[in-house]
Amino acid sequence: MDIFRSGYSPWRNFDWRLFLTGLVLSLLGLLTVAATHNPAQLKRQIISLALGLILFFVATALDFRKFSRAAEILFGLSVFLLIVVLNLGQTVYGAQRWINLAGFTFQPVELAKLSLIFMLAKFFEQRQGKLDTIFDILPGFVLVGAPFFLTYKQPDLGSAVVLLVIFFLMAYWAGMKFSRLFMLTSPLLSILALYTLPVYPLLSWGIYLALIFAALWLLHFPLLDSAIYFSLNFFSGLFSSFFWRSLSLYQRNRILSFINPDIDPLARGLRYHTVKSVIAVGSGGFWGKGYLQGSLTNLQYIPQQHTDFIFSVIGEEFGFWGALLTVFLLFYLLSRVYTIAAQSGDAFGRYLTAGILALLGFQIIINIAMNIGLAPVVGLPLPFLSYGGTALIISWVSLGLVQSVRMHQRAIEL
């Protein structure tokens, strides 16, 4: 291609640090998946990585703005697929998440995450930073709402929360005030105030509502907004028991056992994953037990270790230094994405990169946190490291998009 010959090639701006960090992490992922003793999965993961790399370069080579034209179609497709998967998908571990296309299983929610980022980036670009009233943000909320609801119904609480986090970080980067963002999340806090505080639920809820009222008043929210926010808080609290019952039993148990470990002191049912994973990581010590020497890993003590609990393999076999290195690599990758987002002069590119930062960052942090017992088990993979073709390919496509934003932006604004 002539881009390599051209003196003004955008490839001069190719971020090698971003690419190489992603590559090292992917190889570390292969190494770790191999440690969970499943040759067939290793083979599939290598194929997915190859495919991911090809798509990475395709995304890098193309101007990211060109994708935005396809965003509506992709978003529509992914919402359609989410509906399909909800009705026809394969049930694995009690949730319908996979769709089977000619022997190739595929998770529509991964596509939904990426296409949502595009749709939101477009939306926020159009708003040009004007996000003051609830009606300014409403179309964005509708955009995130559809895939959120469908994912939540699968049920895949983790991915549903990822969609929300993407929305919030992008909205913040698009100039929405923190107080507005807070008010958007406040209905959830209303439920927490009613249910998680140990004493006098109605009293604590009442105090919470009074505080919301005061905040709306003091922060000069428009009258209509205030009324809507306040009633949202009021009614979400009122209907929260209905919401709680809509969660499936295992979701409720996981949340409850995380909030209150005493429910299951022997960790035999609910906290089984977390406790075993924490023991595996803790018993790794500083140096680890050595590659392929992890005793709990070898004895297959941790279910789904090749996917959601891959970090526990690293913690057990490579110890503190290995875990430290992995965390640093992941955060270095995030810092590159962050820097590109911060430096992008193009609003659409900036929002897009911020969305990808939220996508990767939230999954990385929550996954590691749940591996070391800091977060409930929600079923989110560790980007680049966990086994799972769709997630790996989408992660690489996201990196390609970030590269594209860096290479194809009109001007660098510092």
Binding site: R268, F286, Y338, A341, A342
Partner: protein, 583 residues
């Protein structure tokens, strides 16, 4: 301006990320550096698991070596829920080979199991069931057959109450016994001899500390500890006599206790209704549960339960009167009742106009209540209570069985304390004929009879254990008779009671127990009850030098001289026939 705002937003995001990074690193440092030793220890514990080799429980024999309880190797059916591919197929297959899957279905449906838990469906499979499962092993992934040792009672429901049964240790027992080597999931004796002598019978489990994977598959065998089998126990029970007593009692509710009056050995102890202790060796089916929960409490050992002793207690009142030097020639008139403080106290002979003039001796033989009412008025209640205490009534016999009832002997002080009331003459009247507050167990009444029967007038401590022998034949415990008390009554008074007991059978209320050529001595009793009367017959025989002392108690059995005396007669007849080699 806009640029500044944009930089602020980026900065906030950066610091949020940095903060979260710090949290993750701090946690990793805590887990892997500070708490490494703790988690390393835990990791070892997860990996190695002791696969216990259950020690076979000791055998229980009767005095002649007939096995009453033994351990049996059986094939058990377990299910690993995670490995089941086609749940409906597995369930219908098991149902087809007549295995009750209702409990399994419920647990699978509600996910009532731990990850990787083996669910036991049936503890003892029939050979044909094993054959079907083995033939279809390919299609039955997740179904596992393993060997298990279970308790087996070859005599079925015979002697069920005294043997007891075994089952998994409960949480209350475990908290009491965990310092004595008992563990969760242990099979222990839950009732009867199985419970009382559990520590001898159970042996010491061996074990194979294994490194296992999450599915429980052994990966590496570390070393093996051989199990030590439990000790064998020989009881004083004469099983043939036990079976005969059970047959004689038949389907009636009640108890028969037979004691060797010379030693205190328990030769037989029957309680009806009974149950099959083998039920507890496998999971109870719905029908078996219904049987056990029947309204007559089949699990309850009536031989150790407390009931009003009725007229059998007149032996005690009579001896107390003799000791109080009341003239045996003293005559009372029985019109069928006695009026005291305006209340009418009836004699059982009321329908036939009363016994008429009765001296003490006639009153005993005819079991005349009016005579004993008068004795109750002549004696202080304390004197009757003292005589009862001399026979061990009101206190535990300390037989080697769990859950014994003490019975009860009232006193003036007790009544004042419990009810805040004085002792009324009516209380004395009731007590003198074995009614009112008085309660005794069939076992206590058998011992009372045995104390009258033996020449040394000894009250023995009853016992079931003859000896304990280790599995290799080494003697461990040899039990011997233990006298609790020598009756504090003048020998000639006891001699008189013996003579009158013979007259009761030959010519009195106990006529139904009379056997020509044999020497049976006994006393009938009909204890008033809220429902139908309880029937009693305490007796000893069948020779001048008695071999057996027995108490027959029939709950709601009516007149003691009828039903209870006939049961005793059958037992004596059978015993004599066996002694003479007819059987």
């Amino acid at each position: 301006m806009l640029n500044k705002r944009r930089q602020a937003i980026a900065k906030h995001t950066f610091w949020l990320g940095a903060f979260l990074l710090a949290v993750l690193l701090a946690r990793l440092f805590y887990l892997q550096i500070l708490r490494y030793g703790y988690y390393d220890f835990l990791a070892d514990g997860i990996r190695s698991r002791i696969i216990p080799t259950i020690a076979p429980r000791g055998v229980i024999y009767d005095r002649y070596g007939i096995a009453l309880a033994e351990s049996r190797l059986v094939y058990a059916l377990d299910v690993l829920p995670y490995q089941i591919k086609n749940q409906n197929f597995v369930l219908s297959f098991l149902r087809n080979i007549k295995i009750d899957t209702s409990a399994l279905e419920r647990r699978l449906k509600n996910k009532e199991y731990l990850p990787y838990e083996l669910l036991t469906v049936k503890r003892s499979l029939e050979p044909w069931q094993i054959a079907y499962i083995e033939e279809n092993k390919q299609a039955l992934e997740g179904v596992v057959i393993s060997t298990r040792i279970v308790r087996h009672y070859p005599q079925g429901s015979e002697a069920a109450h005294l043997l007891g049964y075994v089952g998994q240790i409960g949480s209350t027992e475990l908290s009491k016994l965990k310092n004595y080597g008992y563990q969760m999931g242990d099979i222990i004796g839950l009732a009867g001899v199985e419970r009382y002598y559990d520590s001898y019978l159970r042996g010491v489990d061996g074990g194979q500390p294994l490194e296992v994977d999450a599915y429980g598959n052994p990966v590496r065998n570390l070393r093996t500890l051989e199990p030590v089998p439990g000790h064998n126990i020989q009881l004083t029970i004469d099983f043939a006599l036990q079976r005969e007593a059970s047959r004689a009692l038949g389907d009636r509710k009640g108890a028969v206790v037979i004691i060797n009056p010379q030693t205190g050995e328990v030769l037989a102890m029957v309680s009806k209704p009974d149950y099959n202790p083998n039920y507890f060796s496998d999971f109870l089916s719905e029908q078996e549960w219904q049987d056990l929960r029947a309204k007559d409490h089949p699990l309850y050992n009536r031989a150790l339960g407390a009931y009003p002793p009725g007229s059998t207690f007149k032996i005690v009142t009579f001896l107390a009167a003799l000791e109080d030097k009341i003239d045996t020639a003293k005559t009372f008139i029985c019109n069928g009742f006695l009026v005291v403080n305006g209340r009418r106290f009836a004699c059982w002979y009321l329908d036939r106009g009363g016994h008429g003039a009765q001296n003490l001796l006639q009153g005993f033989v005819n079991s005349c209540n009016v005579v004993f009412y008068n004795l109750g008025l002549l004696l202080t209640p304390q004197k009757i209570a003292d005589a009862a205490a001399a026979f061990g009534l009101g206190t535990a016999t300390n037989i080697d069985l769990p859950f014994e009832n003490n019975g009860f002997v009232p006193t003036e002080r007790w009544k004042k304390r419990a009810y805040g009331q004085d002792w009324f003459p009516g209380d004395s009247l009731n007590m003198s004929i074995g009614q009112g507050y008085l309660l005794a167990t069939p076992l206590q009444m058998a011992l009372l009879t045995a104390a009258v029967a033996n020449k040394q007038n000894r009250l023995f401590k009853p016992y079931l254990l003859h000896k304990i022998v280790s599995a290799t034949g080494q003697p461990v415990v040899q039990n011997k008779p233990e006298s609790v008390n020598t009756l504090p009554f003048a020998p000639q008074n006891i001699q008189l009671v013996r003579r009158l007991l013979r007259e009761v059978v030959d010519d009195g209320t106990g006529l139904n127990a009379k056997i020509d050529g044999l020497v049976i001595r006994g006393k009938t009793g009909t204890a008033e009850n809220l429902g139908k009367d309880h029937a009693w017959f305490v007796s000893y025989g069948p020779y001048e030098n008695p071999d057996l002392a027995l108490a027959v108690f029939v709950e709601e059995g009516g007149f003691g001289g009828a039903v209870a005396a006939r049961i005793a007669r059958e037992i004596y007849l059978w015993y004599d026939a066996r002694q003479r080699g007819i059987n």
